[in-house]
Every structure is written in structure tokens, then in C-alpha cells.
């Protein structure tokens, strides 16, 4: 029954389920990784999950495409976030010689 629904049109339900799974994976990566760069990868996974939802529901909004517009701004902000995040990570590595999140515990030398 689930497979026969895929004949010509993919229901929104599938995209919602996929994005929920992707979001949980991203959250898991952020919590369990010690390396700051991999934690940033987890954040990108979560942002992508949110984008899938926005674009999926935007199919029912042909004239305005509000969901896709929001997704474009999310992508732009993700790019800015990655640039700033990596600049901070590089600076932290310069000072502490490590990027393990649990070893960085002082703000001032």
C-alpha cells in the first residue's frame, strides 16, 4: 500500500518522515562528537532537514513559494554560519592546539 502510493506523485508524508530522521541524526552528531568540525556537520544536517520540510510544503503554494523563499534564506545563513564557525574553530586551534569540545573550558588566558 505504501509503495503503490508512489505511482505518479510522492505524498508530503514521505518528505516529513525523511526530514524527521535526518534531524535526529544531526542532533545525535552534535551531541556525541568531540570534534568541533563534526559538530558543525551535524548542524548542517539539521538545517537540511528543516529545508526539506519547508520545500515539501511549498509545493502547495505555487504563486508565492513562501517555503522555498525561506529555504533560500536558510541556505544563505548556513553559509555564513559555516564561515564564522570555522574561523572560530581555527582560532581555538591556534590557541589550544585542540578542537575537542570538552577540552576547551577557559575563555581567557
Amino acid at each position: 500500500m505504501l509503495i503503490s502510493a508512489l505511482l505518479t506523485e510522492i505524498p508530503v508524508y514521505y518528505y516529513v518522515v525523511i526530514s524527521a530522521i535526518l534531524f535526529a541524526f544531526g542532533l545525535f552528531a552534535v551531541i556525541t562528537r568531540r570534534n568541533a568540525v563534526v559538530a558543525l556537520m551535524g548542524i548542517e544536517l539539521m538545517l537540511n532537514a528543516a529545508n526539506i520540510n519547508l520545500v515539501a510544503f511549498s509545493q502547495y503554494d505555487k504563486t508565492l513559494l513562501s517555503g522555498q523563499m525561506t529555504a533560500i534564506f536558510v541556505i544563505a545563513l548556513a553559509a555564513a554560519e559555516a564561515a564564522i564557525g570555522l574561523a572560530i574553530v581555527l582560532n581555538i586551534y591556534d590557541r589550544y592546539r585542540t578542537v575537542n569540545l570538552d577540552e576547551i573550558d577557559t575563555m581567557k588566558e
Partner: protein, 185 residues
């Protein structure tokens, strides 16, 4: 099952399993390359959702920009003795699975309460012929929207991107007067 549904399933499974690989590989380089597959599959799903412009944007920005930036971050923050030794520890697995699993359970229980077959606004969109078709292109609508309804967000995001990139270049540069700063342990 049609070819349409078949390829959708292929890309959906590729997305889920490559994301699973991202969170299970201990080698950061392998995780980054699996992230490449994940971003490509998300772009493929955008195509299935008739978001042609967003699919191309996804590939250009995520695969061409963010992923390369992340790889640079990995390369610059590890003492590379061998390509295969750039690893990260996995900590807090108990708490991580608890929070992520709890979040997945929460979202799943919310999804189960919704009957997707008869959403009122979806019915309304079908009635007023407001649903994206395979032959539609979103590029013109997005362009018009960016210059009319979403003009203020566009300007704010453009200023924010400039500030963020200048700030990133400023933060990441090496201080020429002090040389390398290292915390003495």
C-alpha cells in the same frame, strides 16, 4: 512501482544511509565525503519536489562551498600524520541516543496525529490550481518574490553575509605583531 517512485526510493534511502554513515564513521574525512552524498541526495529530493532552482542552489552552496570549507577546517585543525588517522572520539552515546531518539519519537508522534490525505489547505490549493506541476519552473517566481515581498529579508541577509564573511576573515587571520599565539599548558 513506477520509475518515478523507484528513483525517489533510491534517493531517499541514499539520503538516510549516507546520513547514518556521517554519524557513525569515526574517520572525519570519510564522514565529510558521506556528507557530500547526503547533500546530493537532498538536492535530488528537491528535484522531486519541483524546486529546480533550490536543487541547483543546494549543489552550488552546500557541495561547492560549505563542504569544501568544512574539509579545510578538518585539514587545518589536525596534525596530519596519515590521511586515515584523522579521527574523532564518539562520547555521550547514551545521552545522544536518548535525546535524538526522544526527539524522533516526539516528531513521529506528532506526524501520526496528522491525516495527510485531507489537509484543508492542500485541498484548497488543489481546488484553486495552486499546486506545482512537473512542467512549472520556480525561477521566475523566486526572482519576482525576492524583489517584491521578500525584498527586506534579502537586503538584511546580504548585509549579514558581508559582515559575516568580513568578520570570519578578521577572526581567522594571524596577528602579525604577536605571531602564533599558543596557550602555555
Amino acid at each position: 512501482m513506477s520509475t518515478y517512485g523507484f528513483w525517489f526510493l533510491v534517493f531517499a534511502l541514499l539520503l538516510v544511509f549516507s546520513a547514518l554513515a556521517v554519524i557513525s564513521f569515526r574517520n572525519i574525512i570519510y564522514a565529510a565525503f558521506c556528507l557530500l552524498l547526503t547533500f546530493f541526495s537532498v538536492a535530488a529530493l528537491y528535484v522531486f519536489m519541483r524546486a529546480d532552482f533550490l536543487a541547483v542552489t543546494q549543489i552550488v552552496v552546500y557541495v561547492g562551498g560549505i563542504l569544501i570549507l568544512l574539509l579545510f577546517g578538518v585539514m587545518l585543525t589536525n596534525k596530519i600524520t596519515s590521511f586515515f588517522k584523522i579521527k574523532t572520539d564518539i562520547v555521550n552515546i547514551g545521552w545522544g541516543s536518548f535525546v535524538a531518539g526522544g526527539m524522533l519519537f516526539l516528531i513521529a508522534s506528532i506526524i501520526r496525529t496528522v491525516s495527510f490525505a485531507n489537509l484543508p489547505w492542500a485541498k484548497n490549493a488543489e481546488k484553486t490550481n495552486n499546486v506545482l506541476k512537473d512542467t512549472d519552473s520556480t525561477v521566475q517566481t523566486i526572482g519576482v518574490q525576492l524583489m517584491t515581498t521578500n525584498l527586506l529579508p534579502l537586503e538584511i541577509v546580504s548585509i549579514l553575509l558581508t559582515v559575516a564573511l568580513l568578520g570570519a576573515a578578521y577572526i581567522a587571520r594571524r596577528d602579525p605583531t604577536k605571531g602564533r599565539k599558543t596557550l602555555s599548558k
